[in-house]
Symmetry: C3
Subunit: 259 residues, 3 copies
Amino acid sequence: MQLEKFTGANVRISPTAKIGKNVKIGDNTIVYDNVEIGDNTIICNDCVIGEPLNSYYASPEAYENPKTVIGANSLIRSHSIIYADCIFGEGLQTGHRITVREKTIMGDHCCIGTLNDIQGYSTFGNYVRMHSNVHIGQHSTIGNFVFIYPFVVFTNDPTPPSNKIIGPTVQDYSQIATSSVLLPGVKIGKHSLVGACSSVTKDVEDYALVVGVPAKKIKDVREIINRETKQPHYPWPLRFDRGMPWEGIDYNEWLKGQK
Amino acid sequence: MQLEKFTGANVRISPTAKIGKNVKIGDNTIVYDNVEIGDNTIICNDCVIGEPLNSYYASPEAYENPKTVIGANSLIRSHSIIYADCIFGEGLQTGHRITVREKTIMGDHCCIGTLNDIQGYSTFGNYVRMHSNVHIGQHSTIGNFVFIYPFVVFTNDPTPPSNKIIGPTVQDYSQIATSSVLLPGVKIGKHSLVGACSSVTKDVEDYALVVGVPAKKIKDVREIINRETKQPHYPWPLRFDRGMPWEGIDYNEWLKGQK
Amino acid sequence: MQLEKFTGANVRISPTAKIGKNVKIGDNTIVYDNVEIGDNTIICNDCVIGEPLNSYYASPEAYENPKTVIGANSLIRSHSIIYADCIFGEGLQTGHRITVREKTIMGDHCCIGTLNDIQGYSTFGNYVRMHSNVHIGQHSTIGNFVFIYPFVVFTNDPTPPSNKIIGPTVQDYSQIATSSVLLPGVKIGKHSLVGACSSVTKDVEDYALVVGVPAKKIKDVREIINRETKQPHYPWPLRFDRGMPWEGIDYNEWLKGQK
């Protein structure tokens, strides 16, 4: 590149931030108080890491920024805003312009897509992949290896507006397809698949394919036949390994090693 | 905070802008000609206030920026773009990265969520709360105490594409839940509730719960029982007061004072 | 304007970029290596043009930025990110904060709305108009004079997650209304209309109006009567010409000239 991507221009880093080895920080990026960034992480241009919480505005002088942790070997793309009081494991990858609010706890090797809007007060396991424009309401609980597709919304208020907030829960390996909405408090079992444009109003069993407004069970995901291969596709870890810890091994072999 | 949030770096303010007392303006923010900002308002970093209209590009020399008003005691979060020729009352609160186009008229104490896209030529009453990623098409009319949830769209072209634009109308106290779409020209009565993922193709009566694609009336909202309290929840002003003018008083008492 | 919009502050342009005559580049905008910008084009503030591809991060020293072309007479609004290896024809107009990834090929006179998220590896004809927040998945194919409305998603993975990616195809003159989703591999014929909130799971014939989850054919678009005029509205080029090449002529006259 003739034009350098990382020139250090207008970068501001708090003296209380702890920056790991071999970290790159893009132009115009701000790293606020008490942020910890792991080794080899890249934060691209125009990001805000450790954005002060709302209570800052009420009393800026008294305000202390809570700790924020970005794990090692992460890549946060440009124009992203991550509030203080979030913890991310290793290998985080993000798109552009994500917004993540406080008390978001995320495991290792997660992906947060472009324009994701994570409202905080939620937990995510490892290897969660969110495509663009996913909206995660407060008090959501998401397991491991969950994939969430564009414009999916996790809601949390059963009688809007109210002060009763109950977020959805999604268990390991489930897939929530494009533009679906999880209604407040629903529980999605393991290895299930919510079809595109669905409104999930009730709990979903393990291995269920549900579709519709409201979503209804169509079949067991293990009965779904791939149009190309004429073979079953689910449980998907047997047929897909890109970026997964069983990549190049075999899901069942990897699973044995986990026990 | 060891790292200051408001340093004044790269702030540009037009000499014709009128800035109230005790206003804070974040780094990299631009305030264009003929913007008026009320007392005690905070505009965070990387905002554009009074963005010139499209006609600027046709003849920049002749262009005059129309007046833009941001009321007192407001908080506009970072990376927001507000076009010229908008008027906002007092106590506006916004999320990050909002886009609001010209001829948007908004009352007092409104909230505009992160990534809202308000296309202008629309009016909003007082205490309207829009959650993230709401899209308000041109020529929409929204009353007081209306709450609009993520990914709701107000459309306006009955035979796309055409030059006939008729926006929806939503009356006081109504709630439009997540990912619903209001079709062109529909009128939503008072105190109604549009359920998540609905497509509203016809007018909705006062106090109606409507759901579905297309949305159909399910029941009167006053028949909805809160799962927790086993009590009715609607009309919601009787059970919810956070941030409302009847907070700590009582809705009926407050209502008497209004007459 | 008393406050200038284009001051040149913090603009960075690669020495290998080719900038046409009478081009304006907004403050804080970056133009990376091997970008070509046609005459009379305006790039507003805070844009990134020719964003380096993901392979840059793996080996920044070895990385060479592929060619990126922005046609003449274009207007790219602020805070937009266009990756390298994209080609746009003349007269491109964009909203704010668009994100366009590599291998996007777009014809002349297209519009990309605010917050569009175009994932790349897709082709677009001439006069394609995308409203706000459209999401185009990889391997989509879009003809000429196609209009796509807010929150429409083009998906591409029939058995998520998988490595089999087959994008949708939309032929000339078709309209995809608000919040609809095209499922992987569907083909939408010419002059068809997908109603709002639809999930298109099967191919759609020419001139068909389809609506619903899943979308079903309701009628021929030529049977749709405009509520105002009491006349048919489709095929729409007979009744709408704003910004079209037959503006002020007549669609049928223009069509003769095309042959």
